[in-house]
Amino acid sequence: MNRRDSIKALGLSTISTGLIFSALNADAATEIAPVAEAAETEPGREQFEIERNKKLNSEVFFDPHEMATITVLADIIIPRDARSGSASDAKVPAFIEFIVKDIPEHKIPMRGGLKWLDLECYKRYEKSFIDATPQQRIAIVDDIAYPKKAKPEMKTGVAFFNRMRNLTASGFFTSEMGVKDIGYMGNTPNQWAGVPIDVLKKYGLENIKI
């Protein structure tokens, strides 16, 4: 197979595999029962994975107030700018809803952290976080967004914000919008010819040989 055929094969993979499958079945007769069960199947996925995703998608963890708070926070962390949209434009809140169900150790810290945020906001302004003004929200975020200079009594908020910030970045930069923003240019058949010459020159590495 040459490279052009191989690229073609990527598109035709299901057909060629079908042929191999029939060969197998003919040989092994009834002894082989591949994934032929009537259940939903997906190439490259075990049955339990498909069922697990389905189950997680049918559950709801965050209530509407929590989701609204997550949305406001996510957009504070990653707002729209000249290059790309905001976290909520990239559907980060929906990702966070899924990932806390998928990785349950996020559940309590996220729920509890959102609660902490509302209580802190209420102490200061007698309002929940989403009902506070943008200036009031930022005043609290400023107190929890810089772990090293945060006051000791803000540590709970810092731990929550660290988690929230990481989940937001994960959700944003793994979205189509985020991948484009960060400038990842791979995941496509190509020929790797080494570091471009202008880059080598920039770093003075033209003469480094492995």
């Binding site: 191989s6 994934v35 772990p147 090293k148 793994t174 189509e176 400038g183 995941n187 570091v195």
Partner: protein, 578 residues
């Protein structure tokens, strides 16, 4: 009325092979191509990379964005199975540690491995320090098979002429990435040799092989390859062997034991179907185990009979003993000089572009043998966890205006930081020789069975001071390379309390040695052809026969030894010895 029954097949195959990974796959390939009627039993389900690889999927095509929730190495990784498998426990003894990664799929762990393919050298088979038992074979015995594996499977690399890193028959290697050039420069200053990597990725076409196509540089070998551009036992060995018409494959077949007759010879195996729990017995003139070092030892120890009361092939009592995994420790950091770097596609290929073979003389060191270094970094596909360290490291370097700022933050400034730091990461990991010791072992846990009723393995493994000293040396070396590169180290510096970052035994997934070969039947289970001393029609072709692993990843040696054993079987059959 009891519904329990065992389905017995009247067919007698020439051979039954248990396991479809590198060892089982190679034995099946050689025997089926020589016209032998072979039955292969694989505990997991069918897997063909052409159809099943999750290659070229984007992060948003995974609801968990590639997180390792259900698959230990990420949602697109090819391995079915993992460190824990539901209903298939293993136990540990005396508070020791062992982590056991099991794949349950056609091709086993070869579908997702790193494809780093290093030959063991002359000193690995017969060590000059005399600290460990010699193999019953030398490098020269294995060399012709390494050569044949190179030609059959395809491997890239460069000829270096190093005494204990034998060259192979290499295809063209990939060019280094940007961070790898920095590594080369920094490592040389630190006195560490860096050479081109060696991996089982086809960078050129193989003449006459129309099933496989050369690498197209997506860097995703761990997802397995739809064009069969890298080595998986499924794509390169088992599926081609099935096409000969001589190999029958049964998936979801979890083997209980090898059945022997009054003379003590193997007559077949019994297995349970993992999906429907039906019991089966199948027969063959010989049995070949390639179930992995752990599982092959388990099958043998569970195959007790009047002729083999201590388990099959275990009159010496060595089965399960001498278990050893590679040592491993790693550090990571970033290169500030790469901030705001130009974007281009540098996926490259999915194995290593460069590595450092062991470069020192042990005379001046407080540990025997050595380790090689694998390097990472670059502009990778963003996946779950992306940018997690940015709110920490953005306090370590000046911003665009040259001012230091507090770590953390939010908003457009933080969003810009994620971009600035993208592709600056660099990591290094050591993979070293652990000494094979009789008191590191697995045995049958008589109190615990899996859901099929098969007694499970219990592990006992402790690192010795030699391995801990080696990890300490790795960390010192990596820190000095990082320093010479001008990198900022971000991982925690480890001390004696954590064995200097030495990972738990098993973590490197190079476990070997549990059914070792040797000339003396009192000290070994297998002869130099991996044939049981106690049962001439029983063979083991995975990493269990290894006497002493070098710092080389095990797969290429498994392939070479399995091919050698399969050819020996054919020769012995011709002489009517089997």
């Amino acid at each position: 009325m009891s519904e329990f029954q065992i389905k017995k097949s009247p067919t007698v195959y020439d051979a039954i092979i248990v396991g479809s990974g590198a060892g089982g796959g190679m034995a099946a390939y050689v025997l089926a191509n020589a016209g032998q009627k072979v039955l292969m039993l694989e505990a997991g389900q069918y897997f063909d990379p052409r159809m099943d690889a999750l290659q070229l999927k984007w992060p948003w095509e995974s609801p968990r964005r590639g997180a390792g929730t259900v698959r230990a190495f990420g949602d697109f990784d090819a391995a079915y199975g993992g460190w824990e498998i539901d209903g298939e426990p293993y136990t540990k003894k005396d508070n020791t540690e062992f982590e056991w990664f099991r794949a349950r799929m056609l091709g086993g762990r070869t579908n997702h491995w790193g494809r780093i393919s290093l030959r063991m050298g002359p000193d690995d088979f017969k060590a000059k320090d005399g600290l460990t038992d010699d193999w019953p074979i030398t490098y020269d015995d294995v060399k012709p098979f390494y050569d044949k594996v190179d030609r059959l499977i395809g491997i890239y690399g460069t000829k270096e002429g190093l005494p204990n890193e034998p060259d192979g028959i290499f295809m063209k290697p990939p060019k280094p990435r940007l961070n790898e050039l920095f590594i080369k420069k920094g490592a040389e200053k630190a006195g560490v040799k860096v050479i081109t990597g060696r991996g089982a990725v086809m960078t050129e076409a193989i003449k006459g092989n129309n099933d496989r196509a050369p690498c197209f540089y997506c860097g995703q070998c761990n997802r397995s390859c739809k064009v069969y551009g890298d080595f998986s036992a499924s794509s390169c060995l088992v599926i081609p062997a099935v096409k000969t018409g001589n190999l029958t494959l049964i998936t979801n077949a979890m083997v209980r034991e090898v059945i022997t007759n009054k003379e003590g010879l193997a007559t077949g195996v019994s297995y349970v179907n993992r999906k429907n729990m039906q019991e089966y017995q199948v027969n063959a003139k010989l049995v070949i185990l390639g179930a992995s070092a752990g599982e092959s030892a388990r099958i043998l120890l569970n195959s007790k009979s009047t002729s083999h009361p201590g388990g099959l092939a275990n009159s010496s009592g060595v089965v399960g003993k001498y278990l050893h995994d590679s040592t491993g420790m790693g550090i990571s950091g970033f290169l500030p000089q790469l901030m705001d770097r130009k974007r281009y596609n540098e996926d490259g290929l999915g194995s290593v572009h460069i590595y450092s073979p062991w470069w020192l003389d042990n005379k001046n060191l407080n540990f025997p043998r050595g380790y090689h270094i694998e390097y990472g970094g670059g502009m990778h596909m963003p996946l779950y966890g992306f940018g997690n360290n940015v709110p920490t490291i953005n306090g370590l370097v000046p911003d665009r205006n040259g001012n230091m700022k507090d770590a953390g933050g939010y908003g457009t400034a933080l969003k810009d930081d994620y971009r600035r730091f993208y592709g600056t990461g660099v990591s290094m990991a050591g993979r070293g020789t652990a000494i094979a010791r009789a008191d590191n072992y697995c045995e049958i846990d008589n109190n615990v069975v899996d859901k099929f009723g098969i007694p499970v393995l219990k592990f006992h493994y402790k690192w010795a001071q030699d391995e801990i000293n080696q990890a300490k040396h790795m960390q010192e070396t990596f820190l000095s390379i990082m320093k010479e590169m001008g990198a900022v180290v971000t991982s925690k510096i480890q001390g004696a309390d954590t064995n200097y970052g030495l990972l738990a035994p098993g973590k490197i997934i190079h476990e070997v040695g549990t059914v070792r070969m040797g000339d003396d039947p009192k000290k070994s289970a297998l002869n130099k052809y991996c044939q049981a001393h106690d049962c001439k029609n029983l063979f083991v072709v995975d990493a269990a026969p290894f006497v002493q692993q070098g710092d080389k990843n095990a797969t290429w040696t498994i392939l070479a030894l399995s091919m050698r054993t399969a050819e020996y079987i054919l020769a012995e059959k011709k002489k009517n010895n089997l």
